[in-house]
């Protein structure tokens, strides 16, 4: 009973006080309750794919947003996870529940490799070098086509679970766990170091931080998450093909990441949840359907013009303000900070606050 009251107190004091956290809670609840309310197989398929891509996008943000290693070839890890899980379950007969972890592990190895190769690269050099890796991997896959299935990939994979609802829960719960885990990681001291590396790696090194170790770790973690997503993807579609390594997929995750807001983890997830169903929905209309990539790109451009830091920072700034004294966030309607009591809005009408946000 004590636990229940404590949980309720936590809920009221930590979560419901802030609109952004309330939104997240509502979203989690909606996600988990969806099959009970609206069991349409098509909608669940779309949302399963969305959840898988959300894991992928969140992992990119950890790497690119927090650590500044803007990875243009993130699809390599996705494809590595997909192919590993596919090969192991198809050729060796191991159950998919085990092979998805193997997929994540192999992707992690690739993460170490790419991270190591890119240790000395900075900025745009890093981005463009990472673009090369999935393409080299594609070349290798085509070279060893007996093993990898060439342009067809590996098909006839076993499903993780049999019903659409079960698949949906596997995807959404994995997504919630992984995204939450990544967010906690990013919000911890580890994340602060990552920020330091992004902002000024030389200064971080000078402060005694072992930046290569951190960079390698981040590459590995992000790759593992992306590989896990890739494995889920392969077993859901029952096909693991070269489309998991395409340049288009790498670009797509960059768009999601930046559109949603870098260095937030939840930003790219929001972007995927908004953009993927939107483009799919647009595709159902005959007149518009063939133009949906165009509309997608136009939306991205327009949003960028008005919200250059991404969607979620902009939305967050509209619904919350930051207290000038204690730097904690408050709902925008509040007049005084909920924690330290400082005045949030100007006391005199029309006066400007001299100390601004951020």
């Amino acid at each position: 009973m004590y636990r229940v009251r404590r949980a309720w107190a936590e809920l009221r004091n930590e979560v419901l006080v802030l609109p952004s956290r309330t939104l997240v809670l509502a979203w989690v609840v909606a996600l988990l309750a969806l099959p009970a309310l609206y069991g349409d197989a098509y909608v669940m398929r779309i949302l399963t794919m969305t959840c898988i891509f959300a894991i992928f996008a969140a992992s990119w943000d950890l790497l690119a947003g927090y650590t500044g290693q803007v990875n243009f070839g993130h699809a390599l890890f996705f494809g590595a996870g997909a192919y590993t899980s596919a090969l192991m379950s198809h050729k060796l007969g191991i159950t998919p529940w085990a092979t998805i972890w193997a997929g994540a592990a192999v992707a992690m190895l690739f993460g170490f490799l790419v991270g190591y190769l890119c240790l000395r690269l900075r900025g745009s050099y890093l981005s463009l070098a990472t673009l090369a890796f999935p393409l080299i991997a594609l070349g290798l896959l085509f070279a060893f086509s007996d093993f990898s299935g060439g342009e067809l990939g590996i098909s006839g994979l076993r499903r993780l679970t049999l019903t659409p609802t079960a698949n949906y829960y596997v995807a959404s719960i994995s997504m919630l766990v992984i995204v939450f885990g990544l967010w906690r990681l990013a919000d911890s001291k580890f994340g602060i170091v990552l920020h330091a590396i992004r902002d000024d790696e030389v200064a971080a090194r000078a402060s005694g931080i072992n930046t290569p170790l951190y960079k390698l770790t981040v590459f590995a973690v992000a790759a593992a998450a992306a590989g896990f997503a890739g494995a889920l993807f392969a077993h859901y579609l029952r096909v693991a093909g070269p489309s998991t390594l395409e340049v288009a997929l790498s670009f797509q995750v960059v768009i999601w990441g930046i559109f949603g807001g870098v260095a937030t983890i939840y930003g790219p997830v929001a972007a995927v949840f908004i953009l993927y169903p939107l483009t799919e929905w647009l595709g159902t209309f005959r007149a518009v359907g063939e133009l949906r990539l165009l509309i997608f790109a136009v939306i991205v451009l327009l949003v960028l013009l008005f919200m250059p830091r991404g969607l979620t920072p902009w939305v967050r700034d509209k619904i919350e303000t930051q207290c000038p004294r204690c730097k904690q966030r408050n709902g925008v309607w509040r007049k005084a900070c909920r924690l330290c009591g400082a005045a949030l809005q100007a006391q005199v009408a029309g006066a400007q606050r001299l100390v601004g946000h951020q």
């Binding site: 398929r45 085509f142 990939g153 006839g156 579609l237 096909v239 595709g283």
Partner: protein
């Protein structure tokens, strides 16, 4: 309030009643591309023909055919294709599914269709894995039938038959005993078996293989390969190309005034736009094809003529959706039901005279290859037109031409 509820209920009732009168056939394909366009065009021709004649007779009741158009975007995204498949089955409540093109996507789409136990007729993907699935797991995959093209390993048989004919012509005209053949195949899984078969069988067919070149399917420049082929002295270039490299080959062979003639699979060369895409240079390029104004079956010429009149261009093999729908009509009328489980055995034993060929299915639900029934035909580009030249005994065939030496 109550009135609007009653009205809504009544409309829904009428709508479902009306719906129950039609058979919904979903056409799935990459609609922004030539393949999807042909899928849809062939289907429209079938639908209009059937509905004008009164619809399909399902056990005594006449039902009209209604088409559902689904853009799979499979060339760019495999998940989009499976999403589209799921949508037409669960949202649009399609009874039958026809289409597909990119083998990787069709494999994934097949899984979705088999999950829902819906009959899925393939009209574009040649990969034999689709049929192998039927043999390996009959109960699950039995709802899949491939209408067009014949599976990749059967295409080989036509290829070799025509190759023999051309080689004979080379022997006579160029007075050489062992024609030299250069194999130009794109690097892809589907060409592996073909290359191996060629390398093994050509010497036995009294032809010499002077080399094998494998450009990428999307290569836009084949100068290197063609220079080397020139140097090897080959008289025939045996092509296995499905991507835009086929256009580059046609064009660059013409630009270099190569004396060798190209025969094989060149999917781009099957399209009307090929001549312009190759800037008018692809004279003498020949390829396997499906539709031409020749009497492969009694229905071929009327179909091709009607297609050209309506859509102002010739059909590609994807317009086999016409045959697929007509096949369904025959099967449904024979079985007296649209129930998938009862239709499968009927389809397995059927022999349907289509516009492209006579359709019969083997135990992998692949179309049976047989001369006189279903072999495909061979065409050669001459002066901007696709001229059919094989099988020679069919009415309408014209002679094969070679570059002047």
């Amino acid at each position: 309030m109550l009135r609007s509820i009653i009205l809504a209920a009544a409309t829904a009732l009428v709508a479902t009643a009306v719906q129950a009168q039609t058979i919904k056939i979903a056409i799935l394909g990459p609609m922004s591309f030539v393949q999807g366009e042909n899928h849809w065009a062939g289907a429209e021709m079938a639908r209009d023909e059937i509905n004008k004649a009164g619809g399909i007779n399902v056990g005594g009741k006449r039902m009209q055919v209604e088409l559902v158009r689904a853009d799979t975007n499979e060339i760019q995204s495999v998940p989009d294709a499976t999403n589209a498949m799921e949508r037409v089955i669960t949202r649009d409540k399609a009874d039958f599914l026809i289409g597909g093109f990119r083998s990787e996507a069709v494999l994934a789409m097949q899984e979705v269709a088999m999950d829902y136990k819906k009959i899925f007729l393939g009209a574009g993907a040649a990969h034999s894995k689709l049929g192998a699935n039927v043999e390996a797991s009959y109960e699950r995959y039995k709802y899949w039938f491939r209408v067009t093209p014949v599976k990749d390993t059967d295409l080989v048989r036509t290829l070799f038959a025509v190759l023999n004919t051309i080689a004979q012509q080379i022997r006579t005209e160029l007075k050489t005993d062992m024609p030299k053949v250069a194999i130009l195949a794109e690097k892809a899984v589907w060409t592996e078996a073909l290359i191996a078969a060629a390398q093994k069988n050509l010497p036995a067919m009294k032809m010499e293989v002077v080399g094998t070149w494998q450009p990428s399917a999307t290569a836009t420049d084949v100068t290197a390969e063609l220079s080397a082929i020139d140097r090897s002295g080959a008289q025939l270039v045996f092509t296995m190309l499905s991507g835009p490299v086929g256009i580059s080959v046609g064009r660059q062979m013409g630009e270099r005034n190569m004396k060798a003639v190209a025969w094989g699979i060149n999917v781009e060369a099957q399209k009307e736009e090929f001549w312009n895409a190759a800037a008018g240079k692809a004279q003498f390029v020949s390829t396997l094809d499906t539709f031409s104004e020749v009497e492969m079956t009694p229905k071929t010429v009327p179909f091709v003529k009607a297609f050209k009149a309506r859509f102002k261009k010739a059909p590609t093999y994807n317009a086999g959706t016409y045959d697929a729908i007509m096949l369904l009509k025959t099967a449904i009328e024979q079985a007296g039901t649209t129930n998938a489980d009862r239709l499968v055995p009927v389809l397995e034993k059927i022999s349907h005279v289509g516009a492209a060929a006579v359709l019969e299915f083997d135990k992998r639900h692949d179309p049976v290859w047989a001369p006189g029934k279903n072999t495909g035909l061979a065409v050669q580009w001459q002066e901007g037109k696709k001229v059919p030249f094989w099988p020679p005994n069919v009415k309408g065939m014209q002679p094969f031409k070679m570059p002047a030496r």
